[in-house]
Symmetry: C2
Subunit: 306 residues, 2 copies
């Protein structure tokens, strides 16, 4: 089934005590689509400015599974830039600088050829924009969204409206606590799952806990998976988007949104994210392949048998 | 195989926004032995003072799988007391008061009849005392210890000596980081696993992460399990000791310390702890049984298949 992602494309600078990348390819839709591409063709909608370096988008353009025809280059604008700095404890990160640039301008349109997309991921942006994007689509089968603390705090009515019209939310733990006002993550996810969904029967919520794995709320059940243990995390930037990308790519490839399919999709999300954070930017994803992801999934699967 | 635990017996007061227990049965060896008793007979070594209320120890004495003949009542002393207060977010806890009392006096001896114990758990106390207890044993097959931040900070040489003479450590995440100086838990556990063990071949380390589950380091491998998702945590006091008790009880019952046995033992530790924290003190353990633990284990097992 067709898979669409809308989200940011960024020029990232990432520092850590063990290294640094400058002006590297990043952004939610980039990580998402590259991770999804191991499982399914994916259509990318995003916008960059005229300052975008030549060959910067080459990894996307060269990937036969990523359709970049929804990638707008707006010559008058500047590309979104993000600069972050990780501590020795990689769970701690400072945002050094954010320049929204083109992300603060008019959003890109979804090309006509993409409007029939069946599986859709609305990466984090203002919930009103997510709603507009949703409204450009002609009857998608599964719409999943991400959000962030800023919108939860300041755009609650719009976010609540969006949540009622999509099928699933993928959030991190602090966002789940913030939306629900519950400190227990099981209670938090359960309460959000009751609000999500135009068709409650098939709605679900995934709460990502970083290194600690994830919780899936679906079918009035809660299912836990651990993180895949990684001894050396180089750059966790975009790991959550890789998780979502692999999850959605797997679901779109199978065309089924059953609980068993979701569980396997989340397991693929877990191992794909665990590979991505082993190097800066997209570097590790560029050298992996489906066979490596399958091998890591098999190892993960065997780890969980007792 | 015979199983021995040495550790504290306490008179606990636990407060939370949703309730309170006063002068309730607690302490590491109490939680441990009650959890272990679902799997195996267990020998308890501990000491209380003359102030210990009549019938206070009844749940232990009435349990046919707990041998309390190593339980010393020292009339001249006062029992260890602990008073804690949980916040609305149960991950946050204040220690209101600690009275070491008898725990600050001479330690209890291991009765002659217990000295042939094959599986041994040295619950948290000064590592020099743990070493003395170890030296009273006649060739145990598996010795596992717990420790705490205080000894890691102030008794490092003694702790290091102990670690070299036991088979396994069960720690929480912050202790693993503190011992190893590594913020990444996979790196932390791996580095500790290299130091543990009189016979390295069969040594292991378990890092407990509370609601997030655990990591097992054994056979130069690392295995992750999530926590069992609990919607309403009433009292997490002693959950780590229940985890260790069920784990050791299961191992002692099977008499085998292979990697598959360890994994199943840790899974039982996970679900037993998840039951225990559903009520204050030992209350929930007193109403559960092996059938309920088995049912939860089966549910946990099925949750982890994808």
């Amino acid at each position: 089934m067709s898979l669409l992602v809308t989200g940011s494309i960024g020029i990232d600078t990432v520092e850590a005590p063990w290294g640094k990348v400058t002006n590297a390819l990043g952004g939610s839709s980039v990580y998402f689509s590259y991770a999804a591409s191991f499982f399914s063709p994916v259509r990318l909608v995003g916008v960059v400015g005229g300052d975008c370096p030549k060959d910067f988008l080459r990894p996307l353009q060269d990937n036969p599974n990523i359709d970049v025809s929804g990638l707008e280059v707006r010559p008058s604008a500047k590309t979104f830039r993000w600069h972050g700095r990780y501590h020795q404890d990689v769970n701690l990160r400072d945002t050094v600088k954010v320049e929204l640039n083109v992300l603060a301008e008019q959003r890109p349109e979804i090309p006509q050829a993409f409007r029939d997309s069946e599986f859709v991921f609305l990466a984090n942006t203002h919930p009103a924009l997510q709603m507009e994007l949703l409204n450009e689509l002609a009857g998608p089968r599964l719409v999943v969204a991400d959000t962030m603390d800023l919108w939860i705090a300041n755009q609650r009515p719009k976010l609540t409206e969006l949540i009622g019209k999509i099928d699933a939310l993928v959030l991190n733990d602090s966002e789940a606590r913030q939306i629900s006002g519950q400190s227990n993550l099981v209670a938090a996810g359960s309460s959000i799952a009751e609000q999500v969904g135009r068709a409650r029967r098939s709605s679900f919520v995934v709460v990502k806990k970083g290194e600690h794995g994830s919780l899936l709320f679906a079918d009035r059940r809660v299912l836990a998976l651990p993180g895949y243990p990684v001894r050396r995390v180089v750059d966790p930037t975009g790991a959550g988007d890789c998780f979502a990308g692999a999850m959605m790519g797997f679901l779109a490839a199978g065309g089924e949104v059953s609980l068993p399919a979701l569980r396997r999709a989340i397991a693929y999300g877990t191992v794909t994210a665990s590979v991505a954070l082993e190097d800066f930017s997209l570097n590790r994803l560029l050298t992996t392949d489906r066979a490596e992801l399958d091998a890591r999934l098999a190892e993960f699967e065997s780890m969980l048998k007792f």
